[in-house]
Amino acid sequence: MNGRVLIAIAALALAAALVFAARPHEVTADERIDQITTELRCPVCQSLSVKDSTSETAKQMRDLVAQRVRDGRTNAEIEAEFRAAYGDWILLSPPVASWSGLVWLVPIAALVAGLVLVTGRLRGTDPMRPAQPSATEVAALRDRVAREEAAEG
């Protein structure tokens, strides 16, 4: 078997694995519990998710999430229950549609500002540098200086 055949087989196996991994499948209850508890902040820990924390509070939160999933609540409804008690702080990623969600605009604003600066420099017109005076403005200034010098004698 030559090298090309081996590469082709490897590529096919990789493609098959990707297709298998990306196949649509129903999310299990355990997967949903993992999803939700990964997004919830443990209230008694330092920046740890409920899923990753071993504290008693996190355990009670996981139990409550599991109970709500069994009750048929949606992920959004379960998160809303915790947000009602603890505020948006309880989510490790702030929701986009909230005041704290404004934090998501900061990198976008920084990117836009950086692009404007870089584009300006590449075009040779630095937007941060004052524009050069036109020929008419220079002539008017020279004329004014000449007049003031003449007036001073």
């Binding site: 509070t57 009670q60 139990d63 009602a84 603890y86 505020g87 300006g120 004052p130």
Partner: protein
């Protein structure tokens, strides 16, 4: 030229916003945190007494000022604040003010031993599965919630509480109820 001015203005606005945010953040009392539950109806609960002598339901206390104190025997600040709670309990005993203790994150045996050792005469309840803790958004004990006669959470105190703070909050709610 215009862009440079806009950038300068944006920097000034950002610095001002930062200063205002910090000023507001440092002005606020860190014990008085307004999380989601303040101003909303107190989550209902029915919990068993630590001594096993029955249940207490928040719904049965409608029309009264209810003070809920979340505590645990392993919590040192709880021990520190306890004398203030005892004095306030004696002051309002038999009145329209009800003090409830909710023991959290420990066994009933440990909670009950603590209650007896500390002379806590008010109803002490057990939140075995933490559901009440989570519905009130409690972080760590001690935390104290003030519920008005209308059943709405009017205030919350995080950390050890003193007698003045307790009495002021209770009297504010009693005065509001009279009006």
């Amino acid at each position: 030229m215009i862009l440079a001015r806009v950038v300068r203005i944006a920097v000034v606005v950002a610095i001002l916003a930062l200063v205002v945010t910090l000023a507001l953040a440092f002005r606020r009392d860190p014990h008085d945190i307004k999380t989601g539950t303040i101003g909303k109806p107190a989550p209902a609960f029915t919990l068993q007494r630590l001594d096993g002598s029955g249940e207490v339901s928040l719904a049965d206390l409608s029309g009264k000022v209810v003070v809920i104190n979340f505590f645990a025997s392993w919590c040192l600040p709880c021990t520190q604040e306890n004398p203030a709670l005892v004095r306030v309990y004696e002051r309002y005993r038999g009145s329209d003010v009800v003090l409830l203790g909710v023991n959290i994150q420990e066994s009933r045996e440990n909670g009950l031993a603590y209650v007896r050792r500390m002379g806590m005469g008010w109803a002490s309840l057990s939140d075995d599965d933490g559901r009440v803790v989570l519905s009130y958004g409690v972080f760590v004990p001690p935390e104290t919630f003030f519920i008005g006669p209308d059943g709405v959470i009017a205030g919350r105190h995080i950390g050890p509480i003193d007698e003045d703070t307790l009495v002021t909050a209770i009297e504010t709610l009693r005065a509001r109820a009279v009006r």
